[in-house]
């Protein structure tokens, strides 16, 4: 009896679990989770996301604990009514089911982002919107890269039911180049949920690495003279403009691209609440309590998708490579378009260093523009100028996401 009990207990230990076939994978993933925690805590790489993601990865790879198990509803089906008796499942699995697979969490985060965003610098210099457009090239280049990789024999993103079509994966990988976490999670959870872990980790990692990835590209593409361009001081933007702008963006989106309206709608709802000034209770809650709660649950959920069998795979390397390419190309195109705009029009010159901020990665990319600028002229503060393309990048990647959500399900059917 006692020995039965001990045997039973032994068979429920993690050590026993790791020694089962495939158990080593869980062990490795737990180490990866630890690595994320290390980077988040010691290196301060996007800690708000990587701490929950890393911890979620560890918890979800514990043998027998089933913390990432899907929800089960137990009850009686009578006619058209399901009388619920019990809800069960792993706690992170439930967060995932109701918050991520449903698309709720990234949208709620977007409300909070909206409530924190000031479109003032963009409105003071609207042409910087185009820099936010250029930087989205990275998304589509990575999409093409994914399709190309899939042609390599023996390497496949879709085999084994991992995705509905290569386009579904390609769109999701591409969106890493959007450099916007909630957008990446929203699109991937819709198109290729099996890749959610790898893609979210890649997106947040590269966003954390923006200060390392971007400066060499920015310097390579610009002359010292260009880097020293001083931009005109931004004009004062009235409150009315700031109130009308979010509504206007939403309207353009309604008319042209309804598939992007959940993302842009949530963003602009948060922004309107902030700018209107009449519902500060609500906008404060959106950017604080509500956003923090959702960030915790979203991070853990994303971590729970870092399952050994899906993550410990050569495709993950592919995702990391393509994501890096997407970031690099986005940065490049942003800088190049700024140079082109200067070439076309001499008045109101643009410092091309702010072009790189168009990838989004708010506010990191704008800070990088500022920092590189200061290296060459320690009185040239580019931060506010770079905030324009920076927030334009958020709109740009939401638009790109809308296109992907509209076309991929049709062509990848």
């Amino acid at each position: 009896m006692l020995s039965d009990s001990l045997v039973e207990l032994w068979r429920s230990t993690g050590i026993y679990g790791f020694l089962l076939p495939g158990g080593w994978g869980n062990f490795v993933m737990i180490a990866v989770g630890l690595l994320l925690l290390y980077l988040a805590i010691n290196k301060e790489f996007e800690p708000l996301l990587l701490v929950p993601i890393g911890f979620g990865c560890i918890l979800s790879n514990i043998p027998f604990a089933e913390i990432a198990a899907h929800t089960t509803l137990t009850g009686e089906m009578v006619d058209h009514a399901f009388h619920l008796h019990e809800v069960s499942g792993g706690f992170i699995g439930m967060f995932y089911d109701f918050g991520v697979s449903s698309g709720l969490f990234p949208l709620i985060i977007f409300m909070g982002v909206g409530a924190m965003t000031d479109f003032g610098p963009l409105l003071a210099n609207p042409k910087t919107l185009l820099l936010g457009a250029a930087a989205q090239f990275g998304i589509f280049i990575a999409l093409l890269g994914t399709v190309a990789l899939e042609m390599i024999p023996g390497f496949s993103f879709v085999e084994g039911g991992m995705a509905q079509s290569i386009l579904h994966v390609a769109g999701s990988i591409g969106i890493i180049g959007g450099a916007d976490g909630p957008t990446a999670i929203y699109v991937t959870s819709r198109l290729a949920p099996n890749y959610l872990g790898a893609i979210a980790v890649a997106a947040y990692s590269y966003m954390a690495l923006v200060p390392i990835i971007q400066p060499p590209i920015m310097k390579a593409l610009t002359t010292e003279h260009e880097r020293k361009i001083k931009m005109e001081q931004l004009r004062h933007v009235t409150k009315t403009e700031k109130i009308i702008f979010p509504v206007a963006v939403l309207f353009l989106c309604i008319l042209l691209l309804p598939s992007a309206t959940p993302l842009l709608g949530a963003l602009m709802f948060g922004n309107l609440c902030k700018q209107s000034g009449v519902v500060d209770r609500l906008s404060n809650t959106m950017e604080n309590a509500l956003m923090n709660i959702v960030t915790i649950m979203l991070g853990l959920s994303v971590g729970s998708k870092m399952q050994a069998e899906k993550f410990l795979n050569v495709t993950t390397l592919g995702i990391l490579a393509l994501g890096l390419i997407a970031f690099a190309i986005g940065t490049t195109m942003g800088v190049l378009l700024a140079k082109l705009m200067n070439a076309l029009s001499k008045k109101h010159p643009i410092n091309p260093l702010i072009g790189s901020a168009g990838v989004s990665a708010v506010p990191m990319a704008a800070r990088v523009s500022n920092k590189v600028g200061l290296e060459y002229d320690h009185e040239n503060f580019l931060l506010m100028h770079a905030m324009g393309p920076n927030v334009a990048g958020v709109i740009g990647s939401a638009v790109a996401a809308g296109v992907l959500l509209a076309l991929v399900p049709v062509f990848g059917a």
Partner: protein
């Protein structure tokens, strides 16, 4: 690959058109607003605050300031 290219072309087209339209619109809006609805030279309204304890905190602190500094 063909489909991928198509999506790429269409996608960048849409992204650029969308943001270019937004440039035009923003300019237009700003011109109209600045011309027809100029911001009154009102003394910036004090930012409204969430109902809650934070307000009273500041009130308490400022009251304290006044009390301490009056003497």
């Amino acid at each position: 690959m063909g489909v991928g290219l198509t999506i790429t072309v269409v996608g960048m087209l849409v992204v650029f058109s969308f943001l270019a339209l937004l440039v035009v619109f923003s300019r237009l809006m700003s011109v109209i607003i600045v011309k027809f609805f100029p911001e009154a030279e009102e003394p910036e309204k004090p930012v409204r605050r969430t109902v809650g304890s934070a307000d009273t905190d500041v009130a308490v602190a400022i009251a304290a300031v006044k009390a301490f500094t009056k003497s």
